[in-house]
């Protein structure tokens, strides 16, 4: 009943089937035939792992169809649009045991596969009133539509799988507490300085014997401390949910079979909490007003024996408090060790070490030689020169010994300001809290300071052809123009031209 479409074939028999730009046979719709519901879930699960359903959603229809033999199967139809989209869908369908078709209204032919890269066309069309006729190279079947299945209701009916690994997942959480537990839990969070928001949701009574609607506290905690996670997961009356997409969350310890983030069927302004164990989901059509947790902290009033407030009788500036600076050992790890102070007695050692230093270290290091020794700096770390007292830079141009802290623990900016150094000075505070200032201009590259000038022997080259390469003189001609010789005039005659002559003699007397 099917034949393969050949290259450059233009005429097709199946109504509603056309050739797209790449030459692939394509109708207005695509259709996936799946034998059972679990295959549909498998298709959704596999497809949503890599792609979003957002582009398919406007045209996606899931239907249960029945063949003439009475077997029920599931079709998933959508707008075909392009062979790229169809290829993605067909690839996933092939993986889960489904068949992919394309067509426009009633007649759907098999979508292209490896055997027919341009697709298939039906040689004979079945004359029927049935709403769906599928042509496949293995079968041709007529189907009637039994009912339509909504994707959202399908997703809500699917039971999440048990997955204990989600307990350790970080990120925001929704915590739902029963009405009696809510205030205590809020107080616990406030006391533990856990930030979050809280709202109260109302659900209709589960039976006619309940007095009123069921209220539960819903808390959104952006970052639940790790120590509290087992408590929130195991305490009866408290249920924790992990957000699985806009407007939907899945209970902690469970994972929904379909990636819900790829299914934009939930209202982002509402909240659907999907529970495990087969329990019905909790749904809030509209998310209630949420308030800061701290606003619900327990308040206590002091006794009313004393006055409301003590009023000051006078004000004045506090007495200046000045304490000397101290440098004390610190257990904090060393960071930003970028300078070293080498005492004069250790300079000969530096000379010896210089032979072993790598080129990059020499290149990046700067040195200032002073009466108190040599100060070496390198922005990339000074550890490569294992000599002297290491310093860390706590502020631009302010160094303290590595492994030490200054007390009182003032900010580095405050300390730098208190030392009153100019911007051109580099300050080193040693372990006895004595500050040494070295002029910034005194630092020069270690590369230039290291090498002593060697006596050299002049060697004259025998012949140097050309010290510098000379470009050739390239004559380019341009048209002479109309009056090329207009300026060609001989030089003017020199002044006093001609043979010099004696002045005329005086006439004889």
């Amino acid at each position: 009943m099917l034949e393969r479409i050949a290259l450059h074939q233009t005429r097709l028999r199946t109504p509603g089937l056309g050739l797209e730009g790449k030459g692939v046979a394509l109708g207005a719709k695509g259709l996936v035939l799946l034998p059972s519901l679990d295959r549909l879930v498998a298709w959704l699960s596999v497809y949503t792992r890599e792609h979003s359903l957002e582009d398919l959603m406007p045209s996606l229809v899931i239907e249960i169809v029945r063949s003439k033999l009475g077997t029920k199967e599931i079709t998933l139809s959508f707008a075909a649009e392009s062979s790229d989209r169809m290829d993605r869908v067909a690839e996933t369908a092939r993986l889960v045991g489904g068949f992919t078709f394309t067509g426009t209204s009633r007649h759907f032919v098999q979508y292209r596969d490896a055997a027919a890269p341009f697709g298939y066309d039906a040689t004979q069309l079945i004359s029927t009133d049935a709403p769906l006729v599928l042509y496949h190279d293995r079968f041709t079947q007529v189907y009637g539509i039994e009912k339509q299945v909504g994707l959202k209701s399908l997703l809500l009916r699917l039971m999440p799988h048990v997955d204990p690994s989600t307990v350790d997942d970080s990120g925001p959480r929704f915590i739902v507490a029963e009405q009696g537990l809510g205030p205590a839990l809020i107080h616990y969070f406030v006391r533990s300085r856990v930030e979050g928001e809280v709202a109260v949701g109302e659900w209709p009574p589960e039976s006619a014997f309940d007095e009123g609607p069921i209220r539960r506290y819903i808390m959104r905690i952006p970052d639940l401390p790790k120590r509290m996670r087992p408590l929130m997961a195991k305490t009866p009356g408290i249920t924790t949910f992990l957000p699985a997409g806009p407007g939907v969350a899945v209970e902690l310890g469970y994972r929904h079979p379909v990636a819900l983030r790829a299914c934009p069927v939930f209202d982002p302004n509402g909240l659907v909490l999907i529970r495990g164990r087969g329990d019905e989901p909790w749904t809030l059509e509209k998310m209630p007003q949420m308030g800061d947790l701290r606003a619900f902290a327990r308040v206590e009033l002091r006794g009313d024996a004393g006055p409301d407030a003590l009023q000051a009788t006078a004000t004045k500036l506090p007495d200046p408090v000045r304490v000397p600076l101290r440098v004390v050992p610190s257990a904090a790890p060393w960071r930003n060790v970028t300078a070293t102070w080498i005492q004069p007695s250790q300079i000969p050692l530096l000379r010896r070490i210089a032979y072993a230093l790598p080129h990059q270290t020499i290149l990046r290091t700067q040195i200032a030689l002073t009466q108190k020794g040599a100060f070496l700096r390198s922005n990339h770390g000074i550890e490569a020169i294992p000599l002297g007292t290491f310093f860390v830079e706590i502020h631009p141009n302010l160094y303290i010994p590595a492994g030490y802290d200054v007390t009182p623990a003032v900010a580095p900016e405050v300390l730098y300001r208190a030392l009153g150094a100019s911007a051109s000075q580099v300050l080193f505070i040693d372990t006895s809290a004595r500050a040494m200032a070295v002029e910034e201009s005194a630092f020069s590259p270690l590369e230039t300071a290291l090498l002593e000038a060697q006596a050299w022997e002049p060697i004259v080259a025998d012949e140097i052809h050309r010290a510098l390469e000379e470009a050739p003189v390239d004559l380019k001609l341009e048209p002479l123009g109309v009056f090329a010789l207009s300026q060609v005039q001989p030089p003017p005659a020199p002044d006093g031209a001609g043979t010099p002559q004696l002045p005329p003699g005086e006439p004889p007397r």
Binding site: E470, L477, L485, V488
Partner: protein
């Protein structure tokens, strides 16, 4: 008028001709200047200070090959401007544009004016001026025009000193386009698509070289115009400083070719019995022979000077060796006894060669 403004002339001559002549690169000569304008420029300085500075650097480089000079006059003098304008006109006289109806007399008129202008330009007054002129014009024989022959499947065309249009070079593989680039040096220009008389052109170049005698001597191995001794280059060689500078300039050239050129020119003096000129020329040959011999003083077994196969070169070496031997024998030349003996031994074969005998006979 702006075109007669001496400063404008100076700018045009400098940027389009003189600076490329010194620095290399593309030279685009314009309308011929003529003698009146050439002499009107005077002692002016072009406004492009950067280009002038680069020229000065290149000129010092040329000068330092000959003498320990660090500075030169920045801008050309009046005579150097005039010489540059004359050379410009000489080059333009070979312009292929003159090879057309009603224009063929143009090159002759230009050369007439060039001749009259050169008569008004004096030779250098001293060695310093000779060096200065040489630094401007030392590369005049390196000046070359690139002629391009373009062939394609249905035809061919020749472009003299101009680039072929892009349409002719399009689709090179399909149209089988081939380009042949032939550089034409200055002395080949009259015979390549020009209307100028080649012999007159050669004679004008020779006259031009008289005005810059150091360039004349520093390029004496050129093919055309052949080197001849003139009053101007003999005047330069006659001074001790000039002879030293010339000796250094000649040392940069292939020695055999230098000997051949000097020998040929000196022979002409011999045949013309120009004794005073001959004495000056032979002094240079003597210095060269002494220079060649003294380089072998340090050797344990110094090799004697060889004459080679070329007659002219053998004549120059033989004459130089003969005069040098006499000079050492008579004056000592400032050498000690051992050195004198070694020098005489090195010079002896050349001084007693057939060429030297010929010189002796000519001197009579």
């Amino acid at each position: 008028m702006a075109k007669d403004d001496p400063q404008a002339l100076c700018e045009r001559l400098f940027t389009t001709f003189l600076a490329p002549l010194v620095l290399g690169g593309t030279m685009r000569p314009g309308k011929p200047f003529g003698g009146k304008q050439a002499l009107s420029i005077g002692d002016r300085e072009p406004s492009d200070v950067d280009l002038l500075s680069r020229c000065e650097l290149a000129r010092v480089r040329v000068a330092r090959k000959l003498a320990p000079i660090d500075t030169l006059a920045r801008a050309p003098s009046g005579t150097e401007w005039a010489l540059a304008a004359v050379l410009h006109d000489l080059v333009q006289s070979t312009h292929p544009g003159f090879d057309a109806v009603f224009r063929r007399s143009g090159p002759k008129r230009i050369l007439d004016v060039v001749e009259k202008t050169l008569e008004r330009i004096p030779p250098p007054k001293n060695v310093g001026e000779a060096i200065s002129r040489h630094t401007w014009f030392s590369r005049m024989f390196e000046l070359a025009r690139t002629d391009i022959d373009v062939r394609w499947w249905t035809g061919s065309e020749r472009f003299l000193g101009t680039e072929p249009p892009r349409r002719l070079l399009a689709w090179p593989e399909l149209r089988r386009v081939t380009q042949t680039r032939t550089p034409r040096p200055l002395m080949d220009l009259p015979t390549s698509g020009s209307a100028v008389d080649p012999s007159r052109f050669g004679s004008m170049v020779e006259t031009f070289l008289r005005k810059t005698p150091l360039t004349d001597l520093a390029t004496l191995t050129r093919g055309s115009p052949a080197f001849v001794w003139t009053h101007e280059n003999l005047s330069l060689v006659a001074t001790h400083g000039g002879r030293t500078i010339v000796g250094r300039a000649l040392a940069l050239l292939p020695q055999r070719a230098v000997d051949a050129a000097l020998g040929r020119a000196t022979k002409q003096l011999f045949t013309a019995k120009a004794v005073r000129s001959l004495c000056v020329a032979v002094d240079l040959l003597r210095d060269r022979a002494l220079m060649a011999a003294s380089t072998r003083l340090d050797q344990d077994e110094p090799e004697p000077l060889t004459l080679g196969d070329q007659n002219d070169a053998a004549f120059a070496i033989g004459a130089g060796a003969l005069v040098a031997s006499h000079w050492i024998a008579q004056t000592g030349g400032g050498f000690n006894e051992a050195q004198r003996r070694t020098l005489l031994r090195v010079l002896a074969p050349a001084a007693s060669s057939a060429a030297a005998k010929e010189v002796k006979a000519l001197l009579g």
